[in-house]
Symmetry: C2
Subunit: 314 residues, 2 copies
């Protein structure tokens, strides 16, 4: 099961009825959180996301609405009993920012594994949690420098999907049933007759990874569509529905709903979720019809909107 | 009008249904805020407290639940158009903490006037905003070192009340009506016949100051009652209603409801508001009957509880 929850949908400042934008991506009891503004820990609790499952935090940039919730989140992780280290990845300069903000939460009961990412060129790293066997979720995380007022990264998460066990193939190889479970889990076995059976012999080959793209804050530019190409889910900022805000958005290096929809179309993604609405955008859903003329499968979510990208057992 | 709003009532961490403890004290369009944890700016907006009126922020101590909302508050003050300086007072070390936290909000459009207060001895300072004439609110703010795990200050706010204009006295002195308004505002006048009339000649003398005491986080000790003596309002922490939590509270240097109530009784205050409830204290109001046996005029507030300590025109 791969569950994706958009805990908040706001930009700039938290509001009584709108938390700041952050995305919780959970698979097999492990979660990646992208961004953590003031109140994100509350937004997560409100929709029952288990803080203790967060293994990695990705920070897009150091504007307060994307990182000011860090000290509170770290303290709450400690209170929730976390002792294994937390990866925090973000733009160059991250270590200094984290050290500054955590001056009010000394003595955390877990280590911070801080990873500063390139802010001039795209970069990638692989991540898995614990034992690296076939059933452990395995992500490739790519960062792309955005075009914002300060260094900022978009993130593209690809979840590798283990090949599907095919009992027909196992049967054709006369493999006793008692070995199915081990083979299913991705481990080779030696049969009683001495034959070595590898996973590849009893599976249907690799499946296309599940891809989640997350881009905020940025002016629109073509590479976003390249990197988000054929995403299963594209979470993208849209500050305003009204195209009359074009000049202001260009100045501030942000996007309109229509910018995000055009990128979604170019990228041929399956689904677009708009987020990071301006506090002045009182009713973002009013822009839905217009934006769907550009890209049909657009969602204008409210806080806590979620979707199972892979169903239970899938 | 002196309005006091307890924006949040929680301790330790913000919850979906409970903001962190902070107190908004407003008079004549000027406000003092005490403490600012994660989400306090939202708690204030939710109950319609105007952020732009905040002239001074008092910080009790540097645990995250009392200060982590600072960067977000400062940015929102800037967005609300603030340009005059903001006083931030708190324990020694405040400057370093503020500088650390504001690494994510550089370039604020107003200055921070940081005042580090003594953490070993009580201290006092006077505060008024703008012109120091009779109708400008004038506070004396006293800080008392609390007994917590880190240096922490309790705050005692005394609002001086200007003497009341007495039209009978003015009439007896044959002062023409046209001078009443100026005399009422606290300014002396020279009559057409040459006599100089001072405010003292037409007022009823000084009134007792209004006193608000705010004590969290601390183990209970007698000096709190001395400093809070005869407060109009005593806002005091109470983490748990259940006296069985005594040992834990002594370890952590916090109070039970009953501790706060005993202090309120010793201090002979008019009214006690409990606050800073533990996240594990799901229904603080269940403790009301029991705590009122110790101090009758106890309130167990929910977020946004407020009272006009001086009515409009008072």
């Amino acid at each position: 099961m791969l569950d994706v929850i958009l805990a908040g949908t706001g930009g700039m400042m938290p509001l009584p009825n709108r938390f700041l934008t952050s995305l919780f991506v959970e698979i097999e009891g492990r979660a990646i959180l992208i961004d953590c503004g003031e109140g994100t820990q509350v937004a997560l609790k409100r929709v029952d996301c288990k803080l203790s499952r967060i293994k990695m935090l990705l920070i897009t940039h150091f504007h307060a609405d994307h990182i000011s919730g860090l000290p509170g989140l770290l303290l709450s992780l400690g209170n929730a009993g976390k002792t294994d280290s937390l990866i925090i990845a973000g733009p160059r300069g991250l270590r200094r920012i984290v050290e500054s903000l955590t001056v009010i939460c000394p003595g955390l009961p877990f280590a911070l594994d801080i990873r500063e990412l390139d802010t001039r060129e795209p970069s990638s790293f692989d991540w898995t949690d614990g034992e690296n066997h076939a059933n452990t979720p395995h992500f490739t995380i790519t960062s792309l420098p955005m075009r914002h007022r300060i260094p900022c990264l978009g993130y593209f998460l690809e979840l590798k999907r283990p090949p599907v066990f095919n009992p027909e193939k196992a049967k054709n190889l006369d493999i006793p049933l008692k070995f199915y479970r081990v083979l299913h889990s991705g481990t080779s076995v030696t049969l009683d007759d001495g034959r070595v059976i590898t996973t590849e012999m009893v599976t249907d080959g690799s499946r296309k990874p599940v891809k989640i793209s997350y881009c905020t804050d940025s002016a629109p530019f073509a590479s976003i569509a390249d990197f988000a190409y054929e995403s299963d889910l594209f979470v993208c900022e849209g500050m305003y529905a009204d195209d009359a805000m074009r000049d202001s958005m260009e100045d501030k290096r942000h996007m309109l709903f229509s910018d995000a929809a055009r990128l979604a179309k170019q990228a041929n993604v399956k689904e677009l979720w708009l987020t990071h609405f301006s506090p002045a955008e009182i009713n973002p859903k009013a822009g839905l019809q217009s934006v769907r003329r550009i890209f049909e499968n657009t969602v204008i979510p409210t806080d806590g909107y979620h979707k199972e990208l892979i169903k239970q057992g899938g």
